[in-house]
């Protein structure tokens, strides 16, 4: 895609893609032990199903905190690239985190939001994005200048490649379909934490 069009896709015309497929595409591009924080629910289920990398962290609760957790990781390990994966419902719970990310401005953090417009896990009740809310526009308004909708799978790949090479922070939105996740995360919180800390070589 020409550089001047990379950031100009529109939510209304963005292709509706599959969350599991996008998650696998993202993970396949990670070659340097990048950290990935999977938000509560189907977002981290699909991250789990994409292969249990030790650098993945799976949130079993604390809805809305994928971005703050990822921001903490990014601040503490500025040499490692960090991805926060969130759903639209989750992000709507903690919109201030967009402004906080813009303020802290970590060069190594990318936020990816899978926007299916519903709380899929609780029976697909519509979220605010099913009405008038555009999360990429909100991210831009919060001060995250490098924010874009992914027009399709190939454009998503291009955006992820930018986040793997350039200087962030970034915010990418993808419209996603109503398909169920490809797996279910194991529910052992202490094991998830220990494995993640080993995976990113942390000791305190």
């Amino acid at each position: 895609m020409p550089a001047n069009q990379l950031w100009s896709a529109n939510r209304d015309t963005a292709k509706i893609v599959n969350r599991s497929e996008l998650t696998r595409r993202l993970v396949a591009r990670l070659k340097h032990d990048e950290a990935v924080i999977g938000g509560i629910g189907h977002t981290n289920f699909d991250l789990w199903a994409s292969g249990q990398r030790p650098q993945n962290f799976y949130m079993l609760g604390s809805m809305g905190l994928a971005v703050p957790i990822a921001l903490g990781v990014a601040l503490a390990q500025p040499q490692r690239r960090v991805f926060a994966l969130e759903g639209d419902g989750s992000l709507l719970m903690q919109l201030g985190a967009l402004g906080t990310t813009a303020m802290a401005a970590p060069k190594n953090l990318a936020i990816v939001v899978f926007d299916n417009g519903v709380y899929q896990i609780t029976g697909s009740q519509p979220t605010l994005t099913s009405y008038r809310t555009d999360l990429v526009a909100m991210a831009k308004g919060a001060g995250l200048a490098q924010s874009a909708w992914a027009e399709d799978e190939a454009h998503f790949d291009e955006l992820i490649d930018i986040a793997l090479q350039g200087s962030g922070p970034w915010f990418f939105g993808a419209r996603t379909d109503d398909q169920p996740p490809a797996g279910v995360t194991e529910r052992d919180a202490a094991k998830i934490r220990g494995r993640f800390m080993q995976g990113i070589g942390a000791s305190t």
Partner: protein, 177 residues
Amino acid sequence: MPVEENAAITPPEAWDEIVVRVLKANRVKLITYVPDKVLAPLIKRLHGDGYFTVLCPAREEEAAGIVVGAYMAGWRGIVLMQTSGFASLPTVLASLAVPYQIPLLMMISERGTLGDHQLGQAIVCRTMRPILASLGIEHHAITRLDEVEFIVERMIKQAFATQAPAAMILSPLLTNK
């Protein structure tokens, strides 16, 4: 030099000075906070000290999430807040800090008691200790200047040694607010 004169030259450390010293001694370098008048001198001191990375996010939940993420990546941090802010945290504590065994340090200025005129603060204040107790979170109130170092130092060490959250409560008896 007469003792009285010496005492006049070096006044005792204020509570916020002691906290800063103990945080440094324990390598707690990330500070996230939602502001409070009582915490203001501590916050000012932390902002003015290059050792610390200090962030003021929009909500206490965010502040906790950032410290949790940073801990998992190798940094020690603490969340500063007031009583009403703590009341927004039970879900985060119950679904993140406690089950994931995260030494999430919290310093809470106790509002709503001992003469606070704000009704909302007074009511929410009564929920703090029951929440901490029901989640099994170690918590102690600091009421006197000579307790500050002991309690802060010991609670930080225990939190990291046992991978458990800890809440240090700044009583009005200490802060005189």
